[in-house]
C-alpha cells in the first residue's frame, strides 16, 4: 500500500509547477506520505488542506452539490489542489500559479481512484 501511495506522489510531483504532493488523513489533517520540495511545510499544508476540504464539503452539501471530487484554491502566489480518496484519505498538491492544473488534476484523480482499488 505504501509503495502505491509513493508511486502516485511521484507521478503528481512530476507535473511541472507542483512543489509537493502528499496523502493526508482527512479527519485529523496528519500527513500519511509525502513528496515535497525543500521549504514546503508538509504538516502545515496537510492540516490546512484537510480543514479547507472539510469546510468546502460542508458548503457543497449546503448548496446541494453533493460529494466533493476535487477542490482547487487559486491564490496570487500558487494553487492548492485537493482530491478526496478512499479510506478517509485526501491527496493534496501544492503548486505554483503556472502549473498545468488540468494535468495535475488528472494525476490526482487517477491516484484517488487507484486508492479505491
Amino acid at each position: 500500500m505504501n509503495e502505491q501511495l509513493q508511486r502516485a506522489l511521484d507521478r503528481i510531483s512530476r507535473v511541472r509547477g507542483v512543489r509537493g504532493s502528499m496523502w493526508v488523513a482527512a479527519e485529523d489533517g496528519i500527513p500519511v506520505a509525502q513528496l515535497l520540495m525543500e521549504g514546503v511545510r508538509g504538516k502545515a499544508v496537510a492540516a490546512l488542506a484537510a480543514s479547507l476540504a472539510r469546510k468546502v464539503s460542508g458548503a457543497a452539501a449546503a448548496t446541494g452539490a453533493g460529494r466533493v471530487r476535487f477542490v482547487q484554491m487559486e491564490a496570487a502566489g500558487g494553487t492548492l489542489l485537493v482530491a478526496p480518496a478512499a479510506q478517509d484519505l485526501l491527496i493534496v498538491a501544492l503548486a505554483e500559479s503556472r502549473v498545468n492544473v488540468g494535468l495535475a488534476r488528472l494525476e490526482m484523480i487517477r491516484a484517488a481512484e487507484a486508492a479505491l482499488a
Binding site: R41, A44, V45, L48, A49, S51, L52, K55, V56, G58, A59, A60, A61, A62, T63, G64, A65, G66, R67, V68, R69, F70, V71, Q72, M73, E74, A75, A76, G77, G78, T79, L80, L94
Partner: protein
C-alpha cells in the same frame, strides 16, 4: 468540438442556405466562443436578412460581448420583422434593466407576459424588477400574478440577465448574510441562507490557508462535486460570491461565468458605497 456544434456545423456545411446557422451561432455563444458565434450569425443574416431568430441570436451575442447598442439594434430589427418575437421582447427588457430603466423594463416584461402568461422566467424577472423598483414601482402597475414573492425576488436584482440569476448565483457578506442573488435546492425552494452560512466559513478558511502557506491573497475556490461545479470568489472587501453550474458545464467556462458575475457584483457593491 462538442457533439451539438459538430452536428450543426455539418448540417450548415451540407446546406449553407439552411436556417440552422442561428442554432449553431447560439451554441457557440453558449460555449463562450463569441467571435465565432458572431461570424456565423452575421454570415447567416446576409443570406436571411428577414430571419427574426437570427437577429435575436445576433443581439444575444452582442449583449454577451458588452456591445449593448448593437444588441438593441438587432433586437429592434427582430421585432420589426416579428413584433411578437418572445426572445427579442425578453432581450429588450434585459437591456432596459441593464441600462437602469426599471420602469421601461417592467413594461417590457408585462408585454411578454401579456403574450405568454405561462412564461415563468418572465414572471420571475418581473418580480425581481419590481423588487428593484421598490414599493413605488409595485404601486404603479397592476400587481404581479405572483401570490407570494420568493425571498430571492425581494433581493436586489444584481445578476438580472445572467443564467441562474436568482437560483445559482449568491452574493453574501463575510458574516454569512445574503446580500443579493439566490440559491435554490433541488425542489426549487430558497436555500440561500443555509448556503451563505456554510460559505462564510469557507472564506475564512481560504484566507487562513493562503496566508499560512505564503500564497498571498486567494482569488477563487473551484469545487467539482457530484452534481454541480461551484466557484467561490471574494468580491471587494469581505463579500463572497458563489456560482453554481451544472456538472456538464466545463470548469473553465464556470470560472469565466463567475468572473463576469464577480464584475457585476463588485460594481453593485461600489454603487452601494460598500
Amino acid at each position: 468540438m462538442p457533439d451539438d456544434i459538430r452536428a450543426l456545423t455539418a448540417a450548415l456545411a451540407r446546406d449553407p442556405k439552411t436556417l440552422v446557422y442561428a442554432d449553431l451561432a447560439d451554441a457557440l455563444r453558449r460555449r463562450g466562443q463569441r467571435q465565432e458565434a458572431l461570424q456565423v450569425a452575421l454570415q447567416g443574416l446576409t443570406r436571411h436578412p428577414m430571419h427574426a431568430d437570427g437577429h435575436d441570436c445576433l443581439a444575444r451575442i452582442y449583449a454577451d460581448l458588452g456591445d449593448l447598442e448593437r444588441a438593441r439594434l438587432a433586437w429592434s430589427k427582430a421585432l420589426e420583422i416579428a413584433p411578437d418575437h418572445m426572445g427579442s421582447l425578453r432581450g429588450v427588457a434585459f437591456l432596459l434593466f441593464r441600462q437602469g430603466d426599471l420602469a421601461a423594463a417592467e413594461s417590457a416584461l408585462q408585454k411578454v407576459l401579456a403574450r405568454a402568461p405561462s412564461d415563468e422566467g418572465a414572471r420571475r424577472a418581473l418580480a425581481v424588477v419590481r423588487a428593484g423598483r421598490g414599493a413605488a414601482g409595485a404601486a404603479a402597475g397592476p400587481p404581479p400574478p405572483v401570490a407570494e414573492p420568493s425571498p430571492t425576488a425581494q433581493r436586489p436584482p444584481v445578476f438580472f440577465g445572467f443564467d441562474g440569476a436568482t437560483a445559482d448565483i449568491l452574493l453574501l457578506d463575510q458574516r454569512g448574510l445574503v446580500l443579493a442573488g439566490g440559491l435554490t435546492d433541488a425542489e426549487g425552494k430558497d436555500a440561500s441562507e443555509l448556503a451563505a452560512a456554510a460559505l462564510a466559513g469557507v472564506s475564512g478558511e481560504a484566507a487562513r490557508t493562503a496566508e499560512y502557506l505564503g500564497l498571498g491573497s486567494w482569488s477563487a475556490i473551484v469545487t467539482e462535486a457530484e452534481t454541480a461545479n461551484l466557484v467561490v470568489a471574494p468580491v471587494g472587501d469581505g463579500a463572497l460570491l458563489l456560482v453554481r453550474r451544472d456538472r456538464s458545464t466545463a470548469v473553465g467556462l464556470a470560472l469565466r461565468f463567475a468572473e463576469r458575475a464577480r464584475g457585476i457584483a463588485l460594481a453593485w457593491l461600489k454603487g452601494q458605497g460598500a
